[in-house]
């Protein structure tokens, strides 16, 4: 899983059927200093994230699993990135 920042929402009326109720967000990948690194991409949101949120996202097959669980009738959905958590804080410096 990786860390990113939600930079926007995507609205689409016409969608691949298994993704009918899906919500998509734009995610900027971040480096360890929480600075942008790499290209912004679109991800399925399963953690009620909003613009500005620091999030945990997952890619590849693992991106499909949360949606599959929320929608048991869905076998596989065409998704390659999925937000799975909203980060409250990252504690660093407690032990080193």
């Amino acid at each position: 899983m990786l860390m990113g920042r939600v930079t926007g929402s995507i609205w689409a009326t016409v969608k691949h059927a298994p993704l009918a109720s899906a919500r998509f967000v734009l995610v900027q990948p971040l480096n360890e200093e929480k600075q942008p690194c790499g290209e912004v991409f679109a991800a399925l949101d399963t953690a009620a994230s909003g613009p500005g949120d620091l999030v945990i996202y997952t890619t590849a097959y693992e991106a499909v699993l949360p949606w599959k669980e929320l929608h048991p009738a869905v076998d596989l959905a065409a998704v390659d990135a999925c937000v799975v958590g909203v980060i409250d804080r990252v504690d660093a410096g407690a032990r080193s």
Partner: protein
């Protein structure tokens, strides 16, 4: 698997149900020169690693699903060892 350095712990209230109760750590991959390389990974910790530790990360979801015995987990990176030492042949 990759070597990485633990930067800190990640706390999230809103998260996937499979991650509830999980210890998540932010790990930055390190090269053999000891330098940090690339984007940090949010890893599930199974070996009680701590900040500053050099760890071995299984960066693959299939392995995580087997280890966690959870077919629905979205985990893609699992800390499987705290590294004491790396010896390189010259």
């Amino acid at each position: 698997m990759i070597l990485g350095r633990v930067q800190g712990s990640v706390h999230a209230t809103q998260k996937n149900p499979h991650l509830v109760g999980a210890r998540l750590l932010l790990v930055v991959p390190v090269g053999l020169d000891g330098e940090l390389h690339g984007a940090p990974l949010v890893c599930l910790d199974r070996v009680d690693a701590g900040e500053g530790d050099l760890v071995l990360v299984n960066r693959e979801g299939g392995g995580a699903r087997i280890v966690l015995a959870d077919e629905g987990t979205p985990v893609q990176a699992l800390i499987v060892a705290v590294v004491d030492r790396v010896d390189l042949s010259s």
